[in-house]
Structures are given as structure tokens and as C-alpha cells.
């Protein structure tokens, strides 16, 4: 389970990282990295200010 971040939309603000319960996301300079603790809960996709995140189940 994971998410897909559209790097052409992403403003690398880190909002998604703050709402990730398992701490699966990391803002590395100008991009988001996702590790395998992602549960595809979709909270990050919901709150992303620019709608750059899609959940893949």
C-alpha cells in the first residue's frame, strides 16, 4: 500500500507529513518520500493544499 505524489503539483510544504499517523512520509528538501509503513489511509491526500496526492490501494 502506498500513495502517489505528483511532483509537478507538490509545493513541498510538508503538511502531509504532519498528519501521517504511522510517520510514513518524509519531506526531503523538495520532494516527499514514502516508506512501507504507509497504510493508504488517505488523510494526506485529503489535506494536501494543492491536491497533489493520490492513494493507490
Amino acid at each position: 500500500m502506498t500513495i502517489k505524489v505528483n511532483k509537478f503539483k507538490c509545493g513541498y510544504c510538508g503538511a502531509c507529513v504532519s498528519v501521517c499517523l504511522p510517520g510514513a512520509l518524509e519531506l526531503v528538501e523538495t520532494w516527499i518520500e514514502v516508506d512501507d509503513s504507509c497504510t493508504s489511509c488517505g488523510i494526506c491526500a485529503k489535506i494536501c493544499p494543492v491536491g497533489a496526492i493520490e492513494v493507490s490501494r
Binding site: 509545493g11 510544504c13 503538511a15 507529513v17 519531506l27 489535506i47 493544499p49 494543492v50 491536491g51
Partner: protein, 404 residues
């Protein structure tokens, strides 16, 4: 490059720089790391700051002040306007900053005080031994290394990982975050003397739209909506709609995005050998979303407490608890009061917001504080705002003169 410092500060925003400066001024050896290659960029902020509070930390400098505003105008959904003078508009009104220059100036101050600074350097973990944080694992230009310290100060912003690494759960629920987008625009034609706020669930669900002057005809036009209201439409979609309607001929020169913690104060901001400051400690104001001053206040306290703890040779939570106590005394009460106000106001319908605005028609606010404004609202709308009574009980307890 040294491999041992008294204090390592993670993050070079206003909170981190204030902590680094305070610790370095006390004579501690300090390293401040910043993961970005440029301090202060990209901006994630509306850039408004209270003059009075800012002056307590740094002498205002024209190089990073874009606009000097004298008041704010708040619009309810039906267009009714409340105008407030500068001193009563809360933490967000006063100066509008150029954060890119401001943040670098603050980092420069801490460097002048003796702190080492490393950019393009990201913390990847903490060194934890015997339940004490003893340093930071980091990556600098693709190279991994470890640097040890007696105290670590986590000032790593909304996306903070430092607290989590030390066992402090700082994750936010959707209702605990305002998700924000902003355009720097030319050609809005606004009066540069005012900050503007637009309320309404149609245009900004459980949040608001702001228009802050940035000098030379520019303005920050931004929006924050509550995370729990985001989803089908995102902050930037609402912003585009507003801009298309309100400023159809204005041009977008920059896009900024960000998340602002509005959770109110969290239970714990320290661990053995560790303190959290600013957005990392969720110290931003739940009503205005302002976080610069709170971060600077907390940063300074953390730097000073680091000195005390290191001098006493005790960096356990027993000594670092002093930081926790200090920041809760100084800014914690305001944060908690703002949370009460936020919880009430985010529940209002547009009709209710309109009726609140109407209840203030003809009232002159030029000599009132934000608290006075809320009290005036409370007095005129006791039924609707009954839950606010707790706030004024506190006010009486802390002897603030809101009848003035």
C-alpha cells in the same frame, strides 16, 4: 567540522534561529542545521507579524519589512465589514515581512552570536542512549554522519519528525491543521494600509481568506481551510475561485503552500536531552494561524534553558521541564484561549457569522484589544457565544482589564 556540540538546533526558521542565538549568547557551542539549501525559501507563510511583539526580539529593518499596516478589515459572508485598528487586530497585523530575507537575517544573528550553521543538511534520526537524546544523525550533501550534543532542540516545523523520534506523538488530525495556499499577486489594487480577512463557509470552510499588502502594489492573497473540510476541493481550488471573482485582472507572481497546526498546545514538548519549539511543538495560534512570534519566544526560552541544564549537568526532563513551564506560562494560555475561540467559530454557519458582524455595527473599536472585541461580541451574543464565557473567566482570573 566538529563532531560534538553543546546544542544542536534542527531547523533554521524563526524558532530555531532564536534558540541558536540565545544558546550561543550564553557561551554554549551551537550547531544549527537546515535541510533546505536556502534559509527561508520557499515561503509557507502569510508573512504578517505583530509590531509590538516583533520589536521584543529584533530591531525592525527595512530590508525585510514589505509593508507597515495600520488596521484590518474583516468581511462577513454577506459583505458586512468590521474595521479594527492595528493594536487590536491580533498577532497577524503590524508588519508584512519578506520571510526569505527575514529568516536569513535571524540565522545571521545566531551565526554572529557564535553558532555554526549548516544548510542542505537534514536530520535523519536521533542518537538515543540510556533514554537520553545524545545527538543527531544527519545527511549533508548526500553524506551521512553523526554529531553528538548534550541537548537537541527540534525546530523542524510542521513536518517535524524530531518529536516522534523521541517518543512524543506530534501527529495532527485533519481538524488540527489549516491547509493553506497563497498567491503573491500584482495588480490587486488594494489599499496597502490594511490587511483584509474574508470569512464564510462557501469561500473558506472553517478558515478564512487573507489579503496582506506587500508593498509596491503587491499582495499576499491566501487561504486556510480546516483539514477536515478539505478533500473534494483543496485550498488552492477555493483560492482560485476567490481570485477569479475578486481580482480577475491581477497576476500571480509566486505560489506558496503550507499547513498550519491549530491543535492548541500539546501535552509534552520535552524529553531527556530534547526540547521542541515553534510549529514542531504546535505552538502556532489556533485562531490567527500566526506562529512567528510564538516560535521566537519559545526558541529563546529553549536556548536559555539549555544553558541552565548544561550548567547543572542535568539535561533530563527534570531540568528541561523549566522550558515546558516557561512557554506554557508565557504563550500557552493565549494558545489555549484561541483554541476555545477556534472551536466555536469553526462551527458557525454563514448566517451566524453575519449576525455576529451585524451585532457590532456602529461600534468603534479603535481603542480595544482582540480580547475586547471578543468580549463585545460575547456581550451582544451571549446565547450564541455562551461557550466563550470560560475564556472571560480566565481573563478575570489573570486580571486582564477587558472592560477598558
Amino acid at each position: 567540522m566538529k563532531d560534538q556540540y553543546d546544542v544542536i538546533v534542527i531547523g533554521a526558521g524563526p524558532g530555531g534561529s532564536s534558540a541558536a542565538k540565545a544558546a550561543a549568547e550564553k557561551g554554549l557551542s551551537v550547531l544549527m542545521i537546515e535541510k533546505r539549501q536556502e534559509i527561508g525559501d520557499p515561503v509557507r507563510c502569510a508573512e504578517g507579524v505583530s509590531k509590538v511583539w516583533l520589536r521584543k526580539h529584533i530591531e525592525p529593518d527595512h530590508r525585510w519589512i514589505c509593508a507597515d499596516v495600520k488596521g484590518s478589515r474583516i468581511f462577513s459572508p454577506d459583505g458586512s465589514m468590521i474595521e479594527m485598528a492595528e493594536e487590536i487586530a491580533g498577532g497577524e497585523v503590524g508588519y508584512v515581512l519578506e520571510r526569505k530575507i527575514f529568516d536569513r537575517a535571524l540565522a545571521c544573528e545566531s551565526a554572529k552570536a557564535g553558532a555554526d550553521v549548516m544548510v542542505k543538511t537534514r536530520a535523519t534520526g536521533l542518537i538515543i542512549e540510556d533514554h537520553f537524546v545524545r545527538g543527531v544523525k544527519l545527511m549533508h550533501l548526500g553524506e551521512e554522519r553523526e554529531i553528538r550534543s548534550k541537548v537537541v532542540i527540534g525546530a523542524d516545523g510542521v513536518e517535524s519528525k524530531v518529536g516522534r523520534w523521541a517518543g512524543i506523538d506530534t501527529s495532527l488530525k485533519p481538524k488540527d491543521i489549516e491547509t493553506c495556499a497563497q498567491f503573491l499577486m500584482s495588480g490587486t489594487g488594494i489599499d496597502q494600509n490594511y490587511c483584509y480577512f474574508y470569512l464564510g463557509n462557501e469561500i473558506a470552510p472553517s478558515g478564512y481568506i487573507w489579503v496582506f499588502p506587500k508593498g509596491q502594489g503587491l499582495a499576499n492573497v491566501g487561504i486556510g481551510i480546516l483539514g477536515s473540510k478539505s478533500g473534494k476541493k483543496h485550498a488552492i481550488d477555493y483560492l482560485k475561485e476567490f481570485v477569479a471573482k475578486k481580482f480577475p485582472d491581477a497576476k500571480v507572481l509566486e505560489i506558496d503552500v503550507g499547513g498550519v497546526p491549530v491543535s492548541g498546545s500539546i501535552d509534552k514538548t520535552i524529553a531527556n536531552g530534547l526540547m521542541l519549539v515553534g510549529d514542531a511543538a504546535r505552538q502556532s495560534d489556533p485562531i490567527t494561524g500566526g506562529g512567528i512570534i510564538n516560535a521566537m519566544e519559545a526558541g529563546k526560552m529553549a536556548g536559555e534553558v539549555a544553558f541552565e541544564a548544561i550548567s547543572k549537568n542535568d539535561v533530563s526532563t527534570a531540568t528541561l521541564g523549566l522550558y515546558e513551564k516557561k512557554w506554557r506560562q508565557k504563550i500557552g494560555m493565549d494558545i489555549d484561549n484561541s483554541l476555545i475561540v477556534k472551536d466555536i467559530f469553526t462551527g458557525f454557519t454563514d448566517k451566524e457569522i453575519d449576525s455576529l458582524a451585524h451585532s457590532l455595527e456602529g461600534v468603534n473599536f479603535s481603542s480595544m484589544s482582540l480580547l475586547d472585541l471578543l468580549y463585545a461580541l460575547f456581550k451582544a451574543n451571549k446565547k450564541l457565544l455562551w461557550d466563550l464565557r470560560v475564556l472571560f473567566k480566565n481573563v478575570v482570573k489573570y486580571e486582564l482589564d477587558f472592560e477598558r
